[in-house]
Symmetry: C2
Subunit: 211 residues, 2 copies
């Protein structure tokens, strides 16, 4: 069965998945790298990193079962990227997706083939329609909802997510884009497990019944 | 050294310390008892309850080192309680404080002596002034900041809290009063530890340097 998954999505204790003031030099705004330091400290990210629970979760991102990623315009680039016809995403020439990536945007453009197996496709559709296209391209594998917070929130609200892994980082960003707005009671559809890491972050998993 | 402490203060995953629609019959509004079920399931609360990490944290509330509690008007009663001259708090004739309690309110009234050692005093002052009065009454013991969320937030923002124990319950309330608003970067003043309980809640402790 092909699942719809959220992996390693990090938020602050006050619920922000990205900071304020996103720009080409600050992909997460004033949050900087603080939401992802736990990940950079894993063996999955770098030689000499830790091999504990953070690593076990992080390396699922490279899981061979992901066939497609869906991301929002704000993950693809800073506000205004669509005005640059040469913009090819915030992820360099060899992006870490290695699969088709569907970018949800009101500013569509022709698909872009990158190194390493990543191809960006641009779609201006609802979450459900984007998911249908992604499933067709995923060839039986899982679909990752890659973020940012608005996109994950929209897919959760639409009832389209089978398994979500959210990482709560014990910092207070104070401002930015919240993940949880408008999702009252959504935990009732999931089995929720919490795991605290010695690094200080908390891993939350939401698993839909029957998955 | 007399400390200023927050104990067992429970919030939802989306940061709400109380729900919407507080009334005489719904002290936490639409949250009902959901923020405190973890506590009701402990041995500290009831015979036959669990004796694990939730219990270890919960029973600090009964700690003999607390000399005074400071609470907000919203913890003392539902909106409008001040219009009832006979209102003696939402905690029954023998409240679980067993100490002087300073109630922060714009509607002061004469002190009320209850059974079991609780006396309610009503003050219309700043957090710092209330704390000074509380410390004088605490006779060298610690001062608990009892909530609600607005009061805890105000004391944290004013830099007056030495140790805070916050419990994150994996539910999404969606609406109510948030704890974390306006506290950007406050974690930098504290050592933060996270402990996940098998019950699903996460215990966060904030300990100020040197405490």
């Amino acid at each position: 069965m092909s699942l719809v998954r959220v992996q390693n999505f990090s938020i602050s204790l006050d619920g922000f998945g990205t900071g304020e003031g996103q720009s080409p030099d600050a992909h997460f705004g004033h949050a900087g790298q603080r939401l992802h330091e736990w990940m950079f400290a894993t063996r999955w990210w770098q030689q000499g990193g830790g091999g504990g629970v953070d690593d076990a979760f992080a390396r699922q991102h490279g899981d061979a079962v992901i066939g497609v990623e869906i991301m929002g315009a704000g993950k693809f680039g800073h506000p205004g990227w669509h005005e640059d016809p040469d913009w090819k995403g915030a992820w360099g020439p060899n992006p870490p997706f290695h699969s088709p990536v569907f970018v949800l945007t009101h500013h569509t453009r022709p698909s872009i083939e990158m190194e390493g197996g990543t191809t960006y496709h641009f779609v201006d559709t609802s979450p459900a329609e984007a998911l249908e296209a992604a499933r067709n391209a995923a060839d039986g594998k899982d679909v990752r909802i890659g973020g940012g917070p608005t996109v994950i929130r929209d897919f959760l609200a639409a009832g389209l997510v089978d398994h979500a892994h959210i990482v709560v980082v014990p910092i207070l960003l104070g401002r930015g884009v919240r993940l949880w707005d408008g999702l009252e009671g959504i935990e009732q559809k999931y089995r929720v497990e919490t795991t605290a890491s010695p690094s200080g972050v908390t891993h939350l998993t939401f698993t839909r019944a029957g998955v």
